[in-house]
């Protein structure tokens, strides 16, 4: 079929559709636009209903709780207005635990991105058996966090752990890894152990970098490091931004320290070294150990607002350095 033959066909189809709309309107039936709207909302509604029931409704409920002294069971709870918010502003445990969560994010996010990107660069090279390496490096990321927690607890046990086994074999004294001040580093290691997730995303980004740019750089005499720094990293910058934003949110919300706790009970789960007493552990303790649903809800709302601010700041600070490989005029 030639171009000349196609054009009249398309014109007829358009005319038929227009006629259909006219006939629909004449019959009083739904127009094409209406049907499109309906289809859109029908497809979107499972997500919207789920989001409303499982995210918006609990958030609104938590907001309401945050203005009360409710503990879930006692008869005499009452409204305190902004009392819980005023209290948390003066609660040193809130700011100390938030500081620890921030420090954990500052340590773990860059390290895990560097580790993930490094692994991605390695497994992107044309070496034999790279599929196997990719799988092996990704496996820790699919291990359930509870399993990872138990494994790390046993690996780093002071008296019977493999880490101290190595140290004492070489004549060093054993270290109390799961107590202060080392517990923080064990926690960062558990996060790095799961860097396979970041590796996979970075690998996808690396494979999207046009090969001809690397070839042009090589012809121009650029070193491998210069090529990586000036071509690969800028083209990967949207991926790195995504990993930074989601990494910061996940690390501030992490509840991982509990998995390293020695006692598996609600009170016992807060028996963790001070250096790992992060914001979410504080929230857990207020909710489930102390039964302060109202205060803990206020803590969560504060965290929500702080995460929004942090995310906005990250976008603002990186707006000049993230390179989007699209035509900015295309939308217009």
């Amino acid at each position: 079929m030639t171009v000349e033959q196609v054009a009249p066909e398309a014109g007829r189809a358009r005319a038929d559709r227009t006629a259909g709309r006219v006939r629909s309107a004449e019959r009083g039936g739904p127009t094409m636009t209406t049907r499109r709207h309906r289809a859109f909302y029908m497809f979107a509604s499972p997500w919207i209903i789920g989001f409303s029931l499982l995210t918006i409704a609990p958030m609104v409920y938590a907001l309401w709780l945050s203005f009360t002294t409710y503990d879930g069971i006692s008869p005499n709870w009452h409204y305190v207005g902004l009392g819980n918010y005023r209290e948390l502003l003066h609660d040193s445990a809130t700011w100390d635990s938030l500081g620890r969560a921030g420090l954990f994010a500052v340590m773990s996010v860059p390290l895990s991105i560097i580790a993930g990107l490094g692994l991605a660069v390695l497994v992107n090279r044309p070496v034999q058996g790279r599929g196997l390496f990719r799988t092996l490096l990704y496996v820790p990321a699919v291990v359930p966090p509870v399993g990872a927690g138990i494994a790390f607890k046993n690996l780093f046990d002071q008296n019977a752990g493999a880490a101290n086994g190595v140290l004492t074999f070489f004549g060093f004294d054993a270290i109390g890894w799961l107590a202060d001040p080392y517990a923080r580093y064990v926690l960062v290691m558990t996060v790095l152990w799961g860097a396979g997730n970041i590796m996979i995303i970075s690998l996808a980004g690396l494979q999207d970098v046009p090969r001809e740019l690397h070839e042009a750089a090589r012809i121009d005499g650029a070193s491998a490091w210069r090529t990586f720094r000036s071509i690969t990293v800028p083209l990967l910058s949207p991926v790195l931004l995504f990993q930074t934003v989601t990494g910061v949110i996940a690390s501030v919300q992490t509840i991982m320290p509990m998995l390293l706790a020695p006692i598996a009970s609600t009170g016992g789960l807060t028996t963790i070294p001070q250096s790992n007493y992060t914001y979410m552990i504080h929230v857990f303790s207020e909710y489930f150990a102390l039964g302060r649903y109202g205060y803990a809800s206020a803590l969560l709302w504060l965290l929500f607002v702080l995460i929004l601010i942090a995310t906005g700041l990250i976008f603002k600070l990186t707006s000049g350095v993230v390179f989007y490989n699209v035509d900015p005029e295309a939308k217009k």
Partner: protein, 449 residues
């Protein structure tokens, strides 16, 4: 404005309709999730019991059906789930709890059913047959140990006692403690120091563990043993600076500082003493008679294991309290109370109670079943002799209804590590504990009213 048939669904209208859908969905979801049992009374019916699988195994559930005709729907014990079920008006018919720490807390919040009239009518559970440990489940509106009964212990131990491994004592040429007379806490700690074995910064054998069942019960019983009370008469305040409480606190902080046993600053990855003691890596383990159930499964371990009386403070009273008394209670809003009581009777007084009594995993909470405690083997007779003597010193240490064991544990663990590491004095710790624990007690008192 009325919408026309066939007109596009506006976003506003869609969101309004979604809102209605969300509300209806939420209501139906909550009622589905929390609806547990609506059957009423007697054989052939179903009740929901919130308990751990260890308390109520699938085999026991089948046995209950066979022997009572009642079907048990077991749901895992989970305090948040329990609160949701209580709040929605659909609680389980029976709930597991720890008598020492939970009974007064729940009774004060008026969610527990008084069981006196049920006991009065029962042909299985007679009040005169109840061991005094069941007084942990009584609360008169002010203090634990008196007033109406709200539940019952399935079995119990005197949790300040300890087991020791005689081989570990022999290895370090340390004298065994007397069989029926208590050592002082100071002597216990001295033995622990001599028994602990370390190499290259690792503790190969713990000298002894002494952490109580929870920090709340540990501190309250240690203070009582020193001759005082951790709480004020109306249980609304704690005082760690009283001479007795300070003595108790100082002893525990010393124990932690010396690193002779597991603590917050020297965690045992096993989470409890059982596996460590069984592996021969713990010379003394602060657990009551019930640990004999585990010890009895290992003949070698049973041969070298001895039960010892609860220590006392020099010059203090000899008391030996139960820090647990785990059992069950019936929520006031339970739908099927008759069937629940039938299961209660069966679980606490019939076949399951007899099986527990003869297993060695605790002392039966009915006096009539205590003759079933195991005594066939040497080690069983030895520990039974110590236990029977210890029962003469049993007492109920009342706890406050204004704080949960979990809350106390959490606050204690947050504040005390600095003192355990020698970075804070015991006096400063006592003051800090007074502050945080009394804040929580004040909140609890306000909630109860």
């Amino acid at each position: 404005m009325h919408s026309q048939a066939g007109s596009p669904v506006s976003r506003r209208r869609f969101l309004a309709l979604s809102g209605v859908g969300v509300a209806a969905g939420a209501a139906s979801l909550s009622s589905c999730a929390l609806q547990v049992s609506t059957a009423v009374g007697g054989s052939g019916e179903t009740i929901t019991v919130m308990a751990k699988a260890d308390d109520l195994s699938p085999d026991l559930v089948k046995q209950a059906k066979k022997e009572t005709g009642i079907t048990i729907n077991r749901v895992d014990y989970d305090i948040t789930k329990l609160i949701a079920m209580l709040t929605s008006g659909n609680p389980p018919e029976l709930v597991r709890a720890v008598g020492a720490t939970d009974a007064a807390y729940f009774a004060a919040r008026e969610v527990m059913q008084e069981l006196d009239s049920y006991f009065a009518r029962s042909g299985v559970l007679k009040v005169e047959d109840l061991d005094p440990v069941n007084d942990l489940w009584r609360y008169d509106g002010k203090a634990q140990g008196k007033g109406p009964r709200y539940g019952m212990a399935k079995d119990f131990s005197q949790d300040s006692m300890y087991w020791y491994n005689s081989a570990a004592f022999d290895a370090k040429s340390v004298d065994y403690p007397a069989e029926l007379e208590p050592v002082t806490y100071e002597e216990w700690l001295d033995s622990a120091k001599r028994l602990v074995q370390r190499s290259k910064g690792q503790t190969t054998v713990y000298g002894g563990s002494y952490n109580g069942l929870t920090k709340l019960t540990l501190m309250a019983t240690l203070t009582a043993s020193a001759g005082g009370s951790l709480f004020s008469d109306d249980f609304s305040r704690a005082d760690f600076t009283s001479p007795e409480a300070r003595k108790a606190l100082a002893w525990y902080i010393d124990y932690c500082k010396l690193k002779v046993g597991p603590s917050t600053i020297l965690p045992d990855p096993n989470g409890w003493d059982g596996p460590t003691y069984q592996a021969g890596r713990m010379a003394m383990s602060n657990n009551g008679y019930w640990l004999g159930g585990m010890i009895g499964t290992d003949k070698k371990l049973a041969k070298v294991s001895r039960l010892a009386p609860a220590p006392v403070f020099a010059g203090g009273r000899r008391i030996s309290a139960c820090q647990g008394g785990t059992g069950m209670w019936m929520p006031r809003q339970a739908k099927n109370k008759d069937a629940a009581w039938r299961i209660f009777e069966w679980y606490f007084g019939e076949a399951p109670a007899k099986a527990r009594a003869s297993s060695g995993w605790g002392i039966p909470s009915l006096k009539s079943l205590q003759s079933l405690m195991p005594r066939q083997e040497d080690y069983q007779r030895r520990s039974l002799r110590v236990q029977e003597n210890e029962l003469r010193h049993f007492s109920v240490v009342s706890l406050t209804p204004y704080i949960t064991g979990d809350a106390f544990e959490s606050l204690f663990n947050q504040v005390s590590p600095a003192a355990m590491k020698g970075e804070m004095s015991v006096d400063a710790l006592a003051g800090r504990l007074n502050s945080v624990i009394n804040e929580q007690l004040a909140r609890g008192k306000e909630q109860v009213g």
